[in-house]
């Protein structure tokens, strides 16, 4: 006998139906609040039953997000949201699977998993809250911090160039690539909704400032602009061009192509131990 809910689920889900009772630990003004709200909006727009959604994350301020949603959540270890999400989606294709987290989580310790996730092109929606800083550990330089950035961990300025996450994801063959801004939650919700609708690997890079350790609100407000209407999201070269742009920060859908067609696989049959063992008869 399996578990039975005592009342039936509501027929229409409101954004607030996705919210748990846990109060976010985020600082007042943190960009992640906007992302949480946008995710709730997108989920409601897509009318995803909370019981059929699992949100996987790593470690960081942003990675605490699953706990603030009234859905299934898997708050893993630092940098490992993607392989856990891939295992979950492979084992449970019936679920909607999202992976969320921060720039440290996805682009530093977890970077080894990102291109592999992209090239597998499973139906997973990824939302990275990039504040170009390590929030939870109190303000060290991250892979997206600008060159010369001064923090406690790089007091003489970060010597490496910043990564362009969207360029890497595009180079890895992702089928849906977009960028949003936590201060523009309506557009962000649209992008996440489009990502959820996409049947392959959907990657949404979100500018989500950290008010406490690297307040980029003003900066980003100056730099962001919407991709021109003329931009053709099926044009990989153009998408790549926008992805490496750093003087200004384009928002919108950079790239979209149909997901990979699955390769033919055998029709599953139940396993018969005895028949299998007979192969080994002396």
């Amino acid at each position: 006998m399996t578990a039975v809910p005592i009342t039936s689920a509501p027929v229409v889900y409101k954004p607030s139906d996705y919210r748990s009772d846990l109060k976010p630990i985020w600082c007042p003004g943190c960009g992640d609040f906007g992302v949480l709200a946008a995710i709730q909006q997108a989920l409601a727009a897509a009318q995803i039953n909370p019981k059929d959604l699992a949100v996987v994350s790593g470690i960081g301020c942003s990675s605490r997000l699953p706990g603030f949603l009234q859905t299934y959540g898997l708050h893993t270890v630092h940098g490992r949201a993607l392989p856990a999400a891939i295992g979950l989606k492979t084992a449970r294709p019936d679920l909607t699977v999202m992976a969320v987290g921060g720039d440290g989580d996805f682009f530093s310790i977890g970077l080894g998993h990102l291109p592999h996730a992209a090239r597998r092109d499973l139906d997973i929606t990824v939302v990275v809250m990039d504040n170009a800083i390590y929030g939870l550990t109190k303000g060290q330089t991250s892979p997206t911090s600008p060159r010369g950035h001064v923090t406690k961990s790089t007091p003489y300025g970060q010597s490496a160039q910043p990564l362009h996450p969207l360029a890497i994801v595009l180079a890895s063959g992702a089928s849906f690539v977009a960028r949003g801004f936590s201060s523009q939650p309506k557009q962000l919700a649209e992008l996440i909704k489009a990502g959820l609708a996409h049947r392959g690997f959907a990657f949404i890079h979100v500018l989500s400032p950290c008010v406490t350790f690297y307040d980029t609100y003003k900066l980003y407000k100056e730099l962001v602009y919407n991709l021109p209407d003329t931009h053709d999201p099926s044009d990989l070269d153009a998408a790549m061009h926008y992805a490496v742009e750093s003087e200004r920060l384009p928002l919108g859908i950079f790239y979209r192509r149909p997901p990979l067609e699955p390769l033919p696989r055998p029709t599953p049959k139940p396993f018969d131990t005895q028949a299998y063992l007979n192969r080994f008869r002396a």
Binding site: M1, T2, A3, V4, P5, I6, T7, A9, S20, D21, L22, N49, P50, K51, D52, L53, A54, V56, I59, P66, G67, L69, Q70, T71, Y72, G73, L74, H75, T76, V77, R80, L82, P83, A84, A85, I86, G87, L88, K89, T90, A91, R92, D94, L95, G112, H113, H116, R265, P266, P268, K269, P270, F271, T273, Q274, Y276, L277, F280, R281, A282
Partner: protein
């Protein structure tokens, strides 16, 4: 003609010269004719070329180790003689290819030349050399003669064009042997046919996992675990399971954790370097109480070490790899049959106790073949994790509910009203982060306490030998094979020796061990690692003092080595094998 109780035949040559194939077919022939078989092989460090050997021990009684010394050495070339003659028993027989080298002057025992290249060539194709060798050996020592043609046929499979010349080579080899004047005592004809399997340890692990209902596998290639992954790659798509060749071992186990969180039985397989990399994730599974099975096929360490040698040196990391107090179950099979047995139970225990289970195999077990009695599958049920039952109210689901036995109902996504977030942060019954002192104490006790009953289990020890004895062997993993051999040999000498094989290293079955301790005076703990990792575990857990016996050459113990130590502890002279 005297019939020896068992015979150890080693075929040695160069990778690619067919010597291994000769050994493999010989083992099959012996098994198919009803003998018990135990094989052992070495692999060269080179990808292609380099010296190899394939050894077959065959007997009418069960065999549990590779044997002590070589009774028959078939040297395909001079290097094979150089490398292996030191392992020959005093009265051993040498077979050699006179085209390759002359009978070494220093060898004074019984030798038969076997010009297998010439024999094969005369039969139509020089490349049938290995089959000719098969014929010579089988005919000389009575190993499965009536099965040879079938085996050659199966081996060649689709290469029908080669079949004729190979069968001719086989017959010519047999013929050649019959014309030799047999001067040695070795003759191993079977006393009857039996329905047995011939499997490697890796194959038995794959079979066990499939029987246990594995639904997901993720892995990354590594010697000697790769063919577990390859077995899963072949089978899971056929039965609707999920399979993933991951980008590394961290991704492998995290994918398994994701799948298991999704309600599916998940497994990965690796060797030492991969297990090291999995340390953090195993701790996460322990903390979040997510079942997962991890096979570690140990090889020589540390680091990249000796990728093609056996060692039992990953016990420490299996027990302790992971920061913080992170419980897990650790099992270790000693034989191919136990690979099946313990893999099934690894899944059942993982599910029942919601914890990671590590199965410690080793290189020798991974690749060796043994004859295995058919499993009574009715004794291998499938135990599922506890799932919430009855009515659920919104936001009331307690994933880490403090039940009487401390195992909590675990829901899989898809069930309404039971949504929760699994986190590696310390958490309360609802799964919400909670770092208060009282909660950390309670939850630590929960994670450890749920496993505590296993300490009283009698399911994961095997007791052999005398009821009471001066010397009691306690061992784990494949060292149990030579230990049983030593106990048997001691028995032949009327020397009572007791033995306890521990299959579960964590939690340690302390009741059974304490009982055994009552029955013996001296506890001897043989194992293949430098530190005496298991001996120290026994001391750590039981507060006792044991005698550690270690070997760290990358090679398993022989039963004679252990018997020698038993003799020494009794003040007896060195044992001599009849």
């Amino acid at each position: 003609m005297i019939q020896k109780e068992d015979v150890v035949i080693r075929v040695a040559g160069e990778s690619g010269d067919g010597s291994s194939a000769t050994g493999e077919m010989l083992a099959q022939a012996a098994a198919r004719s009803g003998l018990h078989v135990f094989t052992f092989r070495t692999t060269p460090a080179e990808i292609k070329g380099g010296p190899v050997m394939f050894q077959v021990r065959a007997s009418n009684s069960p065999v549990r180790s590779m044997g002590d010394a070589v009774d028959v050495l078939f040297a395909f070339n001079r290097e094979a003689w150089d490398l292996h003659h030191a392992d020959m028993a005093p009265n051993a027989v040498l077979l050699y290819d006179p085209e390759e080298f002359d009978l070494p002057a220093e060898f004074t025992g019984i030798a038969y030349p076997a010009p297998i290249g010439q024999i094969a060539q005369a039969a139509g194709n020089r490349r049938g050399k290995n089959v000719a060798a098969l014929g010579v050996v089988a005919a000389l020592f009575g190993l499965g003669l009536n099965k040879l043609e079938d085996i050659v046929r199966a081996k060649l499979g689709k290469k029908a064009d080669l079949l004729e010349s190979n069968l001719a080579a086989l017959r010519a080899g047999i013929e050649y042997a019959h014309q030799l004047a047999k001067r040695d005592p070795f003759w191993m004809e079977s006393t009857g046919e039996h329905d047995r399997y011939v499997m490697t340890g890796n194959q038995a692990i794959v079979a066990g996992a499939l029987h246990a209902g594995v639904e997901f596998f993720a892995g990354y290639p590594i010697t000697p675990a790769s063919d577990i992954m390859e077995g899963m790659a072949a089978m899971l798509p056929q039965i609707g399971g999920g399979y993933l060749q991951a980008e590394d071992e961290i991704a492998s186990i995290m994918a398994c954790i994701g799948a298991s969180y999704g309600g599916k039985r998940a497994m990965t397989a690796t060797s030492g370097p991969g297990l090291s990399l999995m340390s953090e994730a195993i701790g996460y599974a322990s903390m979040t109480e997510i079942p997962v099975v991890i096979v570690d096929a140990q090889r020589g360490g540390p680091s990249t070490g000796l990728p093609t040698k056996m060692e039992q040196s990953d016990l420490n990391i299996a027990l302790h790899g992971g920061h913080g107090d992170s419980p897990r179950i650790v099992l270790a099979p000693a034989s191919v049959a136990e690979c099946f047995h313990l893999t099934v139970w690894a899944f059942n225990l993982a599910e029942q106790y919601q914890t990671p289970v590590i199965v410690l195999s080793d290189y020798s077990l991974s690749f060796r073949t043994e004859t295995v009695e058919p499993f009574d599958l009715s004794k291998y049920p499938r135990i599922d994790r506890l799932r919430p039952n009855g009515e659920l109210a919104a936001k009331q689901y307690r994933r880490y509910e403090l039940t009487a036995n401390l195992v909590s109902p675990m829901v899989a996504p898809g069930v309404a009203y039971a949504q929760y977030t699994a986190t590696g942060l310390e958490h309360n019954e609802f799964g919400n982060p909670d770092y208060t002192p009282a909660n950390h104490a309670i939850m630590t006790e929960k994670r450890w306490g749920k496993l505590a009953p296993l300490q009283h289990s009698r399911e994961y020890v095997r007791r052999f030998g005398a009821e009471r004895a001066k010397v009691g062997l306690i061992c784990w993993g494949t060292t149990a094979g030579p230990c049983r051999g030593a106990v048997y040999l001691a028995g032949q000498e009327d020397l009572p020796v007791a033995m306890l094989q521990v299959q579960m290293l964590s939690p340690l079955p302390v009741d059974a061990i304490n009982e055994f301790l009552e029955q013996v005076e001296i506890v001897l703990v043989p194992e293949v690692n430098f530190q005496g990792q298991f001996a120290k575990l026994l001391q750590a857990e039981l507060g006792i003092k044991v005698r550690s016996m270690t070997k760290y050459t990358g090679m398993p113990f022989s039963r004679l080595e252990i018997l020698r130590q038993i003799h020494a502890l009794h003040g007896l002279a060195e044992p001599v094998l009849a």
